[in-house]
């Protein structure tokens, strides 16, 4: 489902050219797909904008080796909504509904790399909501973290933190 949506968006973004705007910015994903965006979109991405500023606007093709063509359309979509002032709770709910846990993390890293404060803030809340009521084991799997406590330390922690285990959801099958 997510694949379908994003590939549609890919083709839209690629074919969309605006002849009236000569200053269109080309963003090149890590897998060499070119996305043409309006300069106002680039402004939302601090990393891209500072690159443009440093070259006095002469360079308008920006390689983004850390971002895949799968993630970039989501980032662009979010920035477009942000500029239009159309970030609503409904939009955000729809936006993340189609993203699995790994995709959310990928986008979170992309937002960090591009330095898009609003998206970073939003996605940190999304991840927080997804782990807030989960067990410690679930969270370790979610982030790929190894438990490095000794059995003695574990026993002490289990006792100290027992009160925080109430209301924890049972571990379901991980989504990804």
């Amino acid at each position: 489902m997510a694949e379908e949506v994003s590939s549609q968006m890919n083709s839209l973004s690629i074919s969309e050219t605006n002849p009236s705007s000569s200053a269109t910015i080309s963003l090149v994903s890590g897998d060499d797909i070119v996305f043409k965006v309006e300069p106002t979109i680039a402004k939302e991405m601090e990393t891209v904008q500072s690159f443009i500023d440093e070259t006095d606007g002469k360079i308008t093709t920006i390689p983004l080796p850390n971002i895949s063509s799968h993630d970039l359309p989501y980032v662009i979509e979010y920035c477009e909504k942000s500029i239009a002032g159309k970030i609503t709770k409904e939009f955000e709910a729809e936006f993340v509904k189609k993203l699995n846990n790994e995709e959310v993390k990928e986008l979170f890293l992309a937002a960090n790399y591009l330095n898009i404060k609003k998206l970073l803030d939003f996605l940190s809340q999304v991840i927080a909501d997804r782990i807030a009521n989960k067990s410690v084991e679930y969270v370790r799997r979610y982030f790929g973290i190894e438990n490095d406590f000794t059995p003695e330390e574990e026993a002490k922690l289990r006792e100290e933190l027992a009160w925080t285990f109430t209301g924890v959801d049972p571990d379901d099958e991980d989504e990804n």
């Binding site: 991840i127 973290i145 922690l157 925080t164 209301g167 990804n176």
Partner: protein, 356 residues
């Protein structure tokens, strides 16, 4: 889809942890040693507290010999049941006098404790040199605990009226300096029925009676370190059932006469003309014609309901005074009060003297 796990750098993990409620963050100390140290860091605790989105507030009261807490925003029947907080000390069970930034201000005879139930941080402050000289019953001493933002310091305030000499003694304990300091000048003397003090807007407030029998609020400004009087609204009639509390974001006084509750709100802090009579209603009758022997409003919920304490139960009333819900699991020990407590990961300056 290929199975892989993306690793996030520390600074991004911190962004996520800042968005979690206190209880989740504490649980996740157990994830690994790195997370344990990230979460235990005092800088992280401050950032987490400043992040308003993650605040969780609870009612806390003394149900002898334990301290209990429960949620109040959601309906009592849907919220998780009350939880007992284990405060273990060698001495007798302390009473609750107040709360500020995740700390409970507890008092047992002459010992003052500050305790963060979430982190277990617990400290006991030395008796004031002046207070310890007094042999008088500590019944009429006023206490308060609050936070001075300008100095990033926590203060305990002790006010001792001296009716025989129409005088008083006022001193503060600073956690940064770790000592008591006398505040010069004569104030009052004031007498109060609710000696716990209310921390609001950088000051501690007490409802008091001056020696000329006038009822008013006195506030100790923690930044300016001075005591000042805030007179009651002009149309306020003297009463025996009244106190100062917080109504939403405003300083407020309530008074109960027979079965009628009146609530006045100070719309602009310290501006006398901004006192506004906001709510007046008759308290509901719960058991046939049996009235509550007492009713104490505690707080306003986000949805505008009033949570109050009456006859050993919590009641939820709407703004018209209609009873929405009753929860009967309290029995506050005399001298203790039900306080609103906001969970935090904070510690006090001066270190942890003793872990609970």
């Amino acid at each position: 889809m290929e199975k892989k796990t993306l690793y996030l750098p520390h600074e991004l993990i911190i962004l996520i942890l800042l968005k979690l409620p206190v209880i989740s963050v504490i649980r996740l100390k157990w994830v690994c040693k790195l997370w344990f140290s990230l979460i235990s860091d005092s800088q992280f605790a401050s950032s987490h507290f400043e992040h308003a989105a993650s605040h969780t507030s609870k009612l806390v009261w003394l149900k002898f010999p334990n301290i209990s807490s429960r949620d109040f925003e959601a309906s009592f029947s849907e919220a998780s049941p009350s939880r007992e907080l284990n405060f273990r000390t060698a001495s007798r069970c302390p009473v609750i006098k107040g709360s500020c930034r995740g700390f409970l201000f507890l008092h047992s005879w002459v010992i003052i404790y500050l305790w963060n139930p979430c982190t277990g941080f617990h400290t006991e402050i030395p008796t004031s040199p002046f207070g310890s000289k007094l042999n008088s019953a500590a019944m009429n001493h006023l206490y308060g605990f609050g936070y001075d933002h300008s100095r990033d310091d926590y203060l305990v305030v002790l006010y001792i009226p001296d009716f025989a000499n129409s005088s008083s003694h006022l001193e503060v304990f600073s956690f940064r300096d770790h000592k008591w300091k006398e505040i010069a000048g004569t104030h009052g003397p004031y007498f109060s029925y609710s000696p716990g003090g209310l921390f609001f807007n950088g000051a501690i407030h007490w409802m008091v009676e001056r020696d000329d029998d006038v009822q008013l609020i006195v506030a100790f400004d923690l930044m300016e370190r001075e005591l000042l009087e805030i007179p009651f609204p002009d149309e306020f009639e003297p009463s025996v059932n009244l106190d100062v509390w917080v109504f939403g974001e405003f300083l407020s006084v309530w008074t109960k006469k027979n079965d009628t509750l009146e609530i006045f709100v100070m719309k602009e802090y310290k501006v006398h003309s901004s006192w506004t009579k906001t709510l007046v209603f008759r308290l509901p009758i719960i058991y046939h014609d049996l009235q509550f022997s007492y009713f104490i409003p505690i707080c306003l919920t986000k949805s505008g309901d009033i949570i109050g304490e009456a006859n050993d139960c919590f009641m939820r009333l709407n703004a018209e005074g209609q009873l929405l819900e009753i929860n009967s699991d309290i029995s506050n020990t005399s001298g203790s009060k039900t306080v609103i407590y906001t969970e935090s990961l904070l510690s006090l300056p001066g270190g942890d003297i003793q872990q609970v």
